[in-house]
């Protein structure tokens, strides 16, 4: 499944999932991991950091490129997926399971304003191949 319907997306290829506890998980999309190739390193924001929407907050690195992760919405980093530091390949294997960090949103209006699956799919389709 490349564009799960229950997620929200950004034009910088992050996905977001609303969790039951009020937090929002953030990862990178199938398309993003496909473009980067085999991931070898993930740098997450530190827990407790207050992020502003659009701010650089992490890096994913493959054998051929390193790409910035941008905060898709504003909020506090409440947890970080430590498993990725030893097993970054999980992102290639299951991009929508391998969340990078979870945010407690500070502005509830930001999430619904992001792309839905259909909108993100159109964006990806329109990219030059």
């Amino acid at each position: 499944m490349r564009f799960p319907a229950e997620l929200r997306y950004t034009d910088t290829h992050e996905w977001l999932r609303q969790e039951g506890d009020g937090t929002v998980s953030v990862g990178i999309t199938w398309h993003a991991q496909d473009r980067l190739g085999d991931l070898v390193y993930v740098e997450n924001p530190p827990r407790g950091k207050i992020l502003k929407r659009g701010e650089e907050c992490g890096v994913v690195e493959s054998v051929k490129a390193a790409s910035d992760i941008y905060a898709p919405i504003s909020g506090e980093v409440v947890s970080v997926n430590e498993e990725l530091s030893s097993s970054p390949e999980k992102i290639n294997q299951q991009p929508y399971e391998a969340w990078m960090f979870r945010l407690k949103p500070s502005d509830p209006a930001e999430l619904p304003a992001l792309l839905d699956a259909a909108g993100y799919e159109r964006l990806v389709e329109a990219e030059p191949h």
Partner: protein, 439 residues
Amino acid sequence: MLDAIGVESIEDLFDEIPASLKAAPLDQVPPGLSEMQVLRLMQERAEADGRYLNFIGAGAYEHHIPAAVWQLATRGEFYSAYTPYQAEASQGTLQVLYEYQTMMCSLTGLDVTNASLYDGASALAEAVLMAIRLHRSSRRALVPRTLHPRYREVVQTIVSSQDIDLVEVPYDDEPGTISRSALAHFDKDFAVLVIPQPNFFGALESVHALTDWAHERQALAIAVANPVALALMAPPGRWGAQGADIAVGEGQPLGVPLASGGPYFGFMACKQAHVRQMPGRIAGRTIDADGRPGFTLTLQAREQHIRRSKATSNICTNQGLAVTAATFHLTLLGPQGLQRVAHACHANMLALLDRLKAVRGVQRRFASPVFHEAVLSLSAPASSVLGQLCEEGLLAGLDLGRFYPELEDAVLVCTTETKSAADLDHYVRSLAATLSAAV
């Protein structure tokens, strides 16, 4: 050539550069010289340097270099001073870098080494930037006054435009080492402590306690080490309970001759956990598609040619030729050979200090143990004594007053393994004569 590429003049090639940044017109660069003219010019310059008996170290050290080192380093296969860009086509070059890195890891006791930086001072600046990136919350670095003054200037120059605060830590006057009472003013409000070993005065710092002190405050510790001294002393990777995080230093003592300030090379090693923040190139060993062993440049994804303005550092090169010489130097000496060199340096300094006890007007300035350099206080102004000895063909030390106003009477003297007992006697006699004449 200009016709062929379609420009009028050499100046046109630099059109890209805004006029406001150009310092002077190109016609101030002299015209080209023939090989014969260059040779003549260089011989004249070399002769102007004179032939002195040299007792100055202060960051650049005169060591014996086995003749085979440069015989090998200047072979056509190696004699390219530049970092390989079609890297994997140059397997021999990459293997040399890999061997160099392996030996430097063993010498520093740390997990990974890069393929070198420009020199010790700029390596330290890169290490400070690296530590600030790793620490993430503070942008303040503690830099002791016992660090080489030129290193402090270079670090200041490189980091000053990056909103990083360098704080000078004074030294204790009796031992000539980092003042622990001054450090007590800092709590968790800094990212990194720089620890020179030996320090600029030749004195040995309490590296274990200082490293632990920094780590207890969630800061990093950078070692600035003399690579020859490391043959005898605890490697930075084993300083304190957890080891220094990054070790840097000047690689010149490992097979690179003194040459009016360079080219030398800087080494840099760090813990595995920090490798993603280490600048520069790293050669790695791997296997090719057919399962054969080979060498490759690794961890390049954060370098400039891939990450552009977001690269870890603007350094994506190394000092290829100097490192090639260092690799052969270390290989020919071996661990025991390097230890014997270090022992001889240290023994010469102890012998010199012992002989100087009998000379009126000379005293040890600091009480700390030393490696191969020490500070002497003279009864006459250091600059005039040194100037007089220089006229007699003896470089008797560095005038410390040039860098430390409070040490106007002080001289930094160095002995390497190159000094014979007769050289030491000559030094003592000449200094004694000059001082007694000055009274």
